[in-house]
Symmetry: C2
Subunit: 398 residues, 2 copies
């Protein structure tokens, strides 16, 4: 009787959610300290102290009278202005509050933008491996997800393959860098080549193809890596940002959408995205949290701690004989499944109380994702278990 | 190029939003103190002090480690359990955390439930006058809104008319009591008669028709009026609640959905609603605010202050010669447009810097809504302007 799409989703479940529940079961059986749950991208580090102070300041300060009230659906004008100025200082852009819509994280922002853009049957391209929710977000609005595999040598998108996938029905391309699940940052050369390829296809077909840049991991980078700001490379770019990871606020649901003046059909798209925010039931991004993050634009979570996790895990897995992509950003490690069987790999790992997500969950079998946004302690205690797993799998040690 | 639904919405705009902008324009021209803006349901009173204390306690207490983190999409189990126990104490129900999903207000909850229930072409019945967003919420999921007028004598729904509107395509009926825009509370007799009529139609047609009880105004009642709890009258009831008005937290986006065990297709609907919360991009209701409201379940905004506004406005408008429905709940007054022309009434009111929303915005021309969730001062200063307006309109004084 209920929605057919939703009934189907209840049957198929979520592999990541199943892992999460399996973690709970194993913890109950073996003790939480003997389970190494790398399944969820849930930051283990608390927000910077500045966030708590900012919330307290808003509650007790001059802003308290409207900290809980309605405002324009796009968000508080002063908050949007602060975000625009912050981005301009970082990237040399020229945004104003008229380019910013506050959102319930990047997930909320992507839904608002896809609701704004898509007619039933429109196509949205994603680069695999990709965050599995993209498929649901696109089908929420009757769209069709078209998958283009990344280059398996380096997990950068392939401009020629992307261009070939663009059809008259293409409305958008979702890019996600630093990438979940690979940890790869798309290089400036890649972005420039993708942009040229898309500009050419737009002109050939007489259509507008919007790049939706999904950026929850922008600030989580290692070794001083740069993450190119895509609006500077490709005119029809819309950015969906989240503070979930950069400030460890995933439960608070706060982020923003950037809709530059230069895109085709601005301001129609800006107006429609404000209305989509309202009618999807978000109404506005949470008000108190909007005011708090506006005071923390230069704050960041403890990236050194994630970097130390990364170092420990890379060293341990390399020494055990695993192959992986060296993460440049985010907090994910993309490991090659021995013999190419990711389901068997995840099942073998579970025998040692190690929970990883098979690559099939990201439309890329043959690999597995390790989310190392856990405490350092979990990493350290997991390494002997990884050694035993490598042994069982017959991996050759260094 | 963009979504046709959204492009149409940008063209048609929102009459309430237009009023809001007109209020800003008038305030700039005549001074904020000389404009009487009754257009928006935005509570003017701050949240109870207990809310601020609760947020501070969560930030500084044992809960701080997870106050900003992910949890199950349905919300923190302890929060859901507290909500269930609170409802049981109030209404003699037997809910558990397994019946509660925390939501981004009632707007978020309604979207989650409609996403869960509707297949394209399904019909959802609303009683006019109704909150205009219902039409957008329903069409978000391909549904068709079917409008059944309330009884014009008392603005109670008419059970016979409702029964006649139920077809094999009917999936849900939205009820909203205390009602926006009329301020009417649906009586126990009305609810009982509606329930009998719907049970009969369900049986005749062999379908499940869910009542979605939209309850943001449940706590805002005057003269000790009772608001019947609809799950106790009609088995297939789903409740969408919000703390936006009862705790003056509209910007924070916090509420819950009640999905009782007894409804047809529980637990499929519960599971699907959790997934809908995730894939629509809400992911979960804002985490810090979940924990805070769970500590304030017995707190309420200053209902006496709304009651005083109501008294002043009723006395003033009666004395000026206006006809209206005496509000039993919410903070809206439903005024008969002289000569039945609500557009002309709103236009005439604007000449005296009084902003009201024409009934056409609620699918009920011939009336206008006055939102009296303003400061008492605004009411007092507006009364001479209402007198002048009545004079211009030729209303006979008492």
């Amino acid at each position: 009787m209920i929605s057919e799409q939703m009934a189907e989703l209840t049957r198929s479940g979520s592999a990541i959610r199943a892992m999460f529940e399996e973690g709970g079961r194993l913890a109950a059986e073996f003790g939480r300290e003997n389970v190494y749950d790398f399944s969820l991208g849930n930051p283990s580090f608390p927000p910077p102290d500045a966030v708590r102070r900012a919330i307290g300041d808003v509650l007790n300060g001059a802003e308290s009278s409207y900290a809980h009230g309605y405002m324009a659906n796009a968000g508080f004008p002063a908050v949007r202005d602060a975000v625009a100025r912050h981005l301009n200082a970082l990237h040399g852009t020229s945004f104003t509050s008229g380019n910013i819509i506050m959102s319930a994280g990047a997930a909320g922002g992507l839904n608002v933008v896809l609701k704004t853009l898509l007619n039933p049957g429109d196509e949205v391209i994603a680069i695999s491996p990709y965050f599995v929710e993209y498929g649901n977000y696109v089908s929420n609005y009757g769209g069709k997800l078209v998958v283009v595999p990344a280059n398996r040598a380096n997990f950068q998108p392939d401009p020629a393959k992307l261009a070939a996938a663009v059809t008259p029905a293409t409305k958008a391309v979702i890019l996600n860098s630093p990438n979940n699940p690979t940890g790869v940052i798309y290089t400036a050369d890649t972005i420039a080549a993708l942009s040229r390829a898309l500009e050419k296809r737009q002109a050939e077909l007489g259509i507008s193809v919007y790049v939706l840049s999904d950026e929850p991991y922008r600030e989580l980078v290692y070794d001083g890596s740069e993450v190119p700001y895509i609006t500077k490379y490709y005119r029809n770019t819309i950015v969906c940002y989240s503070w979930s990871k950069s400030l460890s606020l995933p439960g608070d649901r706060i982020g923003y959408v950037v809709i530059p003046d230069e895109i085709d059909d601005y301001p129609l798209i800006f107006d429609a995205a404000c209305i989509a925010t309202r009618i999807l039931g978000f109404v506005n991004a949470p008000s108190l949290t909007q005011l708090a993050v506006a005071r923390c634009l230069n704050e960041k979570t403890d990236i050194e701690a994630y970097g130390e996790n990364r170092r420990l895990l890379c060293d341990g897995l390399k020494s055990a004989g695993f192959e992986y992509v060296l993460p440049q950003g985010a907090f994910y490690m993309w490991v090659t499944a021995p013999n190419g069987d990711d389901a068997a790999f995840a099942a073998a790992a579970k025998k040692y109380n190690i929970l990883v997500v098979p690559g099939a969950s990201f439309a890329c079998p043959g690999y597995a994702r390790i989310a190392y946004c856990v405490s350092r302690d979990v990493i350290e205690r997991s390494l002997p278990a990884f050694e035993k797993l490598a042994s069982e799998l017959g991996l050759r040690k260094d």
